[in-house]
């Protein structure tokens, strides 16, 4: 097993609002290893973005705050860091790529300057910074970087803007990049280009990537390991193989059943997961998925399921894994022969 560069242990993050506490992240644990792509998947409001942003402390604090847990980055706890220490990690050791490149770039600043800004306060000489910016622009597939450098965001296409965002995240060669749904707002051909680019960069630079998405297609294409989140908690985690072919949580199989596939019959109806995600103002007592789960038992509504380790990599939080639970087939995908 290669070395861990990031480890979340039982992270609890909530927001204070007028209506009360929103428990956005409720005890999430996972790790990121060197050079791997970890996918975090889940529907809107499951806490995946808040989890990702809490790694760089980008959630507004207040109203948000950590109720517990630790985020160890190269052995140091990010939750305990002061502003200055945080600034040294942000953009330098951990890069962040946001969901919407249309609004994530400053409209009144040249894109080149926005890339160079990462080095402010590091004491790197100007000429070197310029060289690094131009090199990274070339690396992320921007033709004629000298000309692009002087342009403003509105002069670039959506895909080009996302390349600039990736360049900003990569320019100081961070050891980890967090991508918060980087392709959601792009059309599919650009999406494919951007995903290929991320894979290529991982090969070239050995960077670890956290890929947040609600698109299982993206996960299948990119990720080594997957964390499935639901209701602010981890539902299941394992290698991509485990998640797709040895599915061990009803939520994961629900997700797999609800995607359209090429080999489907013409009239076959997609199976959605009925109901809505739990209200995080007042999270349910037992398993968060119990209310929507077709296999729910009475224990599911009363007690939280504990972690069941299936293999070294694969674990799930579900009462169905208990010895007394009935046998249920959760596997949707069949391994090809």
């Amino acid at each position: 097993m290669s070395e861990k560069i990031l480890e979340l242990n039982n992270v609890v993050f909530s927001f204070k609002t007028y209506a009360g506490l929103v428990h956005a992240v409720r005890g999430v644990s996972f790790e990121v290893r060197k050079g791997e792509i970890l996918g975090i998947v889940g529907e809107s409001g499951c806490g995946k973005s808040v989890t990702a942003q809490s790694i760089l402390r980008l959630n507004p604090e207040p109203p948000g705050f950590f109720e517990g847990g630790e985020i160890l980055f190269k052995g140091q706890d990010i939750i305990k860091m002061n502003n200055k220490q945080l600034r040294n990690i942000r953009g330098k050791d951990i890069g962040f790529i946001f969901q919407d490149p249309m609004t994530s770039l400053n409209p009144t600043m040249r894109v080149g300057e926005q890339i160079e800004e990462v080095f402010i306060g590091t004491g790197t000489p100007k000429a070197e910074v310029r060289l690094k910016a131009l090199n990274i622009m070339r690396l992320v597939g921007i033709n004629d970087p000298e000309r692009r450098f002087m342009q403003y965001p509105h002069e670039l296409s959506g895909g080009m803007k996302q390349r600039i965002m990736i360049a900003i995240a990569l320019v100081s060669r961070p050891s980890l990049i967090i991508c918060d749904e980087p392709t959601t707002s792009l059309d599919v051909t650009i999406e494919a280009q951007i995903l290929d680019l991320l894979l290529e960069l991982r090969e070239k630079l050995g960077t670890s990537i956290i890929m947040i998405t609600h698109d299982l297609g993206v996960i299948a294409r990119l990720c080594d390991r997957v964390v499935v989140m639901y209701g602010g908690k981890v539902a299941e985690q394992g290698t991509s193989e485990d998640i797709f072919f040895d599915t061990a949580h009803p939520y994961t199989s629900g997700l797999l059943k609800s995607i359209a596939r090429l080999d489907m019959e013409r009239n076959q109806v997609l199976t959605p997961i009925e109901g809505t995600p739990p209200d995080l103002f007042a999270p349910p007592k037992g398993c968060p998925f119990a209310a929507r789960c077709e296999y729910a038992m009475s224990v599911c509504c009363e007690y939280e399921p504990s972690k069941t380790t299936l293999t070294e990599e694969h674990s799930t939080y579900c009462w169905l894994q208990h010895d007394l639970a009935p046998e249920v087939n959760l596997i949707v995908e069949k391994r090809e022969a």
């Binding site: 980008l58 942000r90 946001f98 994530s104 400053n106 926005q114 990462v118 306060g121 509105h154």
Partner: protein, 306 residues
């Protein structure tokens, strides 16, 4: 950028031309005539009208007026004997402009600073103070403000002169009175705009880059938040400059305001026209400057103005 500026200049010239034409004919539609004083006999009045060219057809007068204007000549006043409109403007305008510009500078600089401070310290006493200033400023008319300032600073505490316009300390009260309203609205807009910009995704991007709070505020937040303030500058210049008329009479400043009001009651055609065209020119130039400024601050406008 050059193309953008040329386009703006041409638009400004057309605006001025339309203004001159409309005002020229509108003035003639006003009831009454310049030479109707009881002291004038009918014969004298006729002579006077002939002297000013009123016997010619209106369109001839119009072309004559345009020709004179192109030579920079606004003509003679019909009320103040032997004084040209140019002379009267030359006498009064420096005072009006002086108060106006001082007030504008006060209003814009303090307005922006108050807006930034309020937004950055949202919900604290500083914010509360700035909001109170904004409410007072927008709800108290400038002539009451002027009188209040005169009473407290001039009479009660005797700190500053009450009226006249003879040196720096004389300019403080009128400029403050005039600036107050604009200051309040600038600070309100700046505060709202700062709070809106701070929600934008690119501020989060800046934070994720590891920039300091100071740099995020200055380079990313203020630069974008100042846009609506620049937009309102054009009309603001207009309101501050017309506002000087009232302030001038309260503080006994020998500006243009008095002449402007008198020329209307006296049907002094050439004065009304001259002053209106002059102010119009001034405002068009101010708007032109604002347009150009806008293009400098917001790169998107430059492209839009191709």
């Amino acid at each position: 950028m050059a193309k953008y500026i040329i386009k703006r200049v041409i638009a400004a010239i057309i605006t001025l031309f339309v203004l001159i034409t409309v005002v020229f004919f509108l003035v003639r539609l006003m009831p009454g005539e310049p030479f109707t004083s009881a002291k004038l006999t009918e014969e004298v009045a006729l002579n006077m009208e002939k002297y000013y060219g009123f016997d010619k057809p209106l369109y001839m007068q119009y072309f004559q007026y345009i020709e004179n204007l192109l030579h920079g000549n606004f003509g003679y006043s019909m009320f103040y004997t032997n004084k040209t409109v140019n002379y009267i403007i030359g006498q009064g305008f420096p005072f009006s402009a002086d108060v106006g510009i001082r007030a504008l500078m006060l209003a814009i600089s303090f307005g922006i600073v108050f807006g930034i401070l309020a937004a950055k310290n949202r919900g604290t006493k500083i914010d509360f103070f700035c909001v109170i200033v904004a409410i007072l400023g927008t709800s108290i008319p400038d002539f009451i403000m002027g009188a209040l300032l005169q009473y407290f600073f001039g009479i009660k505490w005797g700190l500053l002169p009450v009226a006249k316009y003879r040196g720096f300390e004389y300019t403080i009260l009128p400029a403050c009175a005039l600036a107050f309203y604009t200051l309040a609205s600038v600070s309100r807009i700046m505060r709202a705009s700062m709070l809106e910009v701070v929600q934008q995704d690119y501020i989060k991007t800046a934070k994720a880059k590891g920039l300091s709070n100071f740099r995020i505020t200055v380079k990313h937040q203020i630069r974008n938040a100042i846009m609506p303030v620049i937009t309102m500058l054009g009309p603001t210049v207009a309101s501050v400059l017309t506002g000087t008329f009232v302030i001038e009479s309260i503080f006994a400043i020998p500006g243009m305001g008095k002449y402007y009001v008198e020329s209307v009651t006296q049907n002094d055609y050439s004065m009304i026209l001259g002053m209106t065209v002059f102010y119009g020119m001034f405002l068009v130039v101010c708007n032109l400057i604002v347009d150009i400024l806008y293009g400098i601050v917001d790169p998107r406008v430059r492209i839009g103005g191709k």
